[in-house]
Amino acid sequence: MRGFVRFVVILGLVAGAAGLWLTRPVHITDTDIAGLTGDPAAGEAVFWAAGCASCHSADDAEGADRLILSGGQAFPSEFGTFRAPNISSDATHGIGDWTLAQFLTALQNGISPEGQHYYPAFPYTAYRLAERQDLADLYAFMQTLPASDTPSEPHDVGFPFSIRRAVGAWNALHLRDDFAVEDDLSAEAERGRYLAEALAHCGECHTPRNALGGLDLANWLGGAPDPSGRGTIPNVTPGAIGWSEGEIAAYLNDGFTPDFDVAGGHMRSVILNMAELTEADRAAIAAYLLSVPDMP
């Protein structure tokens, strides 16, 4: 009996340690990225493709105001309301004093400089798939953007989701290092996949989620309830939209559907970002979208 108790206790300790190990914050260190330097000019394209302005600029910012990353926008979810923080170049209220390694750790592992887990309302789950060179360029570009001294606002998230540590367990279940669409793709569609999955995170909105809030990869881009509660974010797999490659690429540029309705909701700000890309990159995203498996 004593032996059995001891066995159970040890088992519990091992499981606990394994759990802690699995959910531990993983930092990218300076040695991991030795020799990596960013090019601010190249970083601008990454910035627009990755859509940082959509969440981190003020609500309804237009034009040059989209470059002021003062934060504040609210993101309602089943788990509570998250608020995007100030990520401007301000050293006190933004991230102006961060090292590149800290920036990469946040964007790819979802871990703060203090070792806390971020909530996946911040799509590090997608940026994790990005090339580090692209993110180094992005960081260099962001340092050229205006500083804002607007303080970040707290999230409004209830227990148990208020425990950031719990996100570690979520990450162990949901973080992945592979693209969602693994089929053989043309070179153009592969470029589109990189832009759409690693940077523009189209799946975060267009893919339904499981009970834990993880993306349901078996229904990739198959449409999802709008987090605001009413309406549905559309299924954008090829059969469901039924648009040509040219029509998709044009929509991503000017926001007009083939019958000249105009994109609204959160898609509008995605299109403002996409309009900053090259025509070739928009065509690549369209080619990717037409290569995604059909969902009913």
């Binding site: 237009e62 044009a250 000249f260 105009v262 609204g264 509008r268």
Partner: protein
């Protein structure tokens, strides 16, 4: 009346009642949706030229721009009765925020009007001038749909 007749008659009344609830047609909602369809049709004439899908034609472009300007001048007060938001009735994508404190809907409708005026001033002056003036109109459509129209169901 035979039993079959009664059954058929009551089935018919039932079906009619069902159809009535399913449609819940509201004349103000119909009118505004129709107005937006007119806008989309005319934007489409210009948008297809701007995208290079059709050849630019000055007279056609001017006619479409004039139509947009005319729609922008329709007094909107009868199109938006209180209680015709998508939380209150079926068949509309209009969000309650339109009627809430701080709503920018009237202001954005004004931006659409200013854009349409700018467009009508130059639509006949060549493809590049028309394309440049189409931008602000599209931006007004987009910024209103961004905050005040729900995604489709």
């Amino acid at each position: 009346m035979t039993l079959t007749r009664i059954l058929i008659a009551s089935a018919l009344t039932g079906a009619l009642a069902l159809a009535a609830t399913a449609q819940e047609s509201n004349p103000a909602v119909d009118a505004r949706q129709g107005q937006f369809q007119v806008m989309a049709l005319n934007i489409g004439v210009l948008g297809n030229m701007a995208r290079g899908n059709t050849d630019y034609d000055a007279e056609t472009a001017q006619a479409a721009a004039n139509n947009l300007l005319a729609v922008s001048q329709i007094d909107q007060r009868f199109h938006w009765p209180v209680g015709t938001d998508n939380a209150s009735i079926e068949g509309t994508r209009a969000l309650p925020a339109i009627w809430e404190e701080g709503s920018r809907v009237i202001e954005i409708w004004g931006e659409f009007g200013a854009g349409a005026e700018g467009l009508a001033a130059v639509a006949g002056d060549g493809l590049d001038a028309m394309r440049a003036a189409l931008g602000p109109v599209g931006a007004a459509c987009g910024s209103c749909h961004d905050d005040y129209r729900a995604p489709a169901n």
